[in-house]
Symmetry: C2
Subunit: 235 residues, 2 copies
Amino acid sequence: MDFFDAVNKRRSVRKFSKTKVPESVIRKCLKASVLAPNSSNLQPWEFYWARDKEKKDKIIEACFSQNAAKTAQEIVIAVARIDTWKRNRDLIIEHYKKHDKLIPIVDKYYNKVIPYAYLHDRFGITGFIKRLVFIFLNIIGYFRPMIRGPIYKHQIFETVTKTTALACQNFMMGLVSEGFDSCPMEGFDEKRVKKILNLNWQCKVVMIFGIGKAAENGVYSDRFRIDDELVIKEI
Amino acid sequence: MDFFDAVNKRRSVRKFSKTKVPESVIRKCLKASVLAPNSSNLQPWEFYWARDKEKKDKIIEACFSQNAAKTAQEIVIAVARIDTWKRNRDLIIEHYKKHDKLIPIVDKYYNKVIPYAYLHDRFGITGFIKRLVFIFLNIIGYFRPMIRGPIYKHQIFETVTKTTALACQNFMMGLVSEGFDSCPMEGFDEKRVKKILNLNWQCKVVMIFGIGKAAENGVYSDRFRIDDELVIKEI
């Protein structure tokens, strides 16, 4: 399907029909997700496809049993992590080395800049120390452009969440292109979802997708967007 | 262009050719951006298209004059805001009323839940108070699924940033579908960018796009993704 047709066709569906979603569709769309651009190519995302009936039911319950979850044929959970950067960084470096392309600037970026950017601990101590360093950088920043973060753990989470959202949009557009629908849910009990998925404190549940084909009354209202002039500005 | 072809074709381009991008392409892609799904339909995004030469040059400088900015034919800045929810909420309610669809659950959601979710102040005082309420909710959460946030200002920022990223991905895919390329940049001096765009503390610069057609050596390396098995999990 043409991309712009798919954009127009995509709606958040709150109630799905009984039509099954072929496995191959979910797989194809998940593969398209992880081809999204992402921060430093560190691919800090994870996608959990809840196939086990018991797990799926638990996830539905953690989504407050809302229709978009309850009637979904398939459920996929998008997760962003701040703890996989090291593993993925090592794989990236290995790839560069294999192709003889680990030039000094890339080497320095992945071995010096990234470890500092992703430095964090559970209690925010490193965040506090990084803040002190950034006070110094902010002084330089008066005179020339300067990087301003990430400093705190929540800023690293913001980076990985943002990147994972790019992949999420690919996932939803893929589904529409294949003739299926989705609902990206943010209303869920994150604590419970993390427990079901066995995720640690370095993980963030970004969104949960209900997937299927829209039921007849599956879209609750007409599409409403505020005027473009309010949000698209030429300066 | 077919969506999956576009996904495969899209690469982050670091060096653009001298080919101009028609105005209509940027407009079409920005319009596709704001059709992305978004949190509570509050559309907390803004897209700034830097057309003024002086402003564009300043943005390039704030992007550390990296090639992806310096050689870009066009530059667009994606911004997420935590202060437009009220205006947009009012427009949504007006729309519902006009179509006689402001049912009680929607009314309550936009007039009670959303104002509380978006409640924030510059210094984090409301965040502290909300935390206390959520301690109580967390106790209930032992017994049944419970919403866990947003509590702090940075969590509201995370919500709007996540939503804006969905729109950003539409923007990039739109450009590819129209035969153009982009580079989503996160390396910029946010303080300076905000000053150039005259943005307040309730705004977050999500990413900056360099846009054009790839130069011959515009993609710096082959595409590398870690094994799907590491990030796509069936449970």
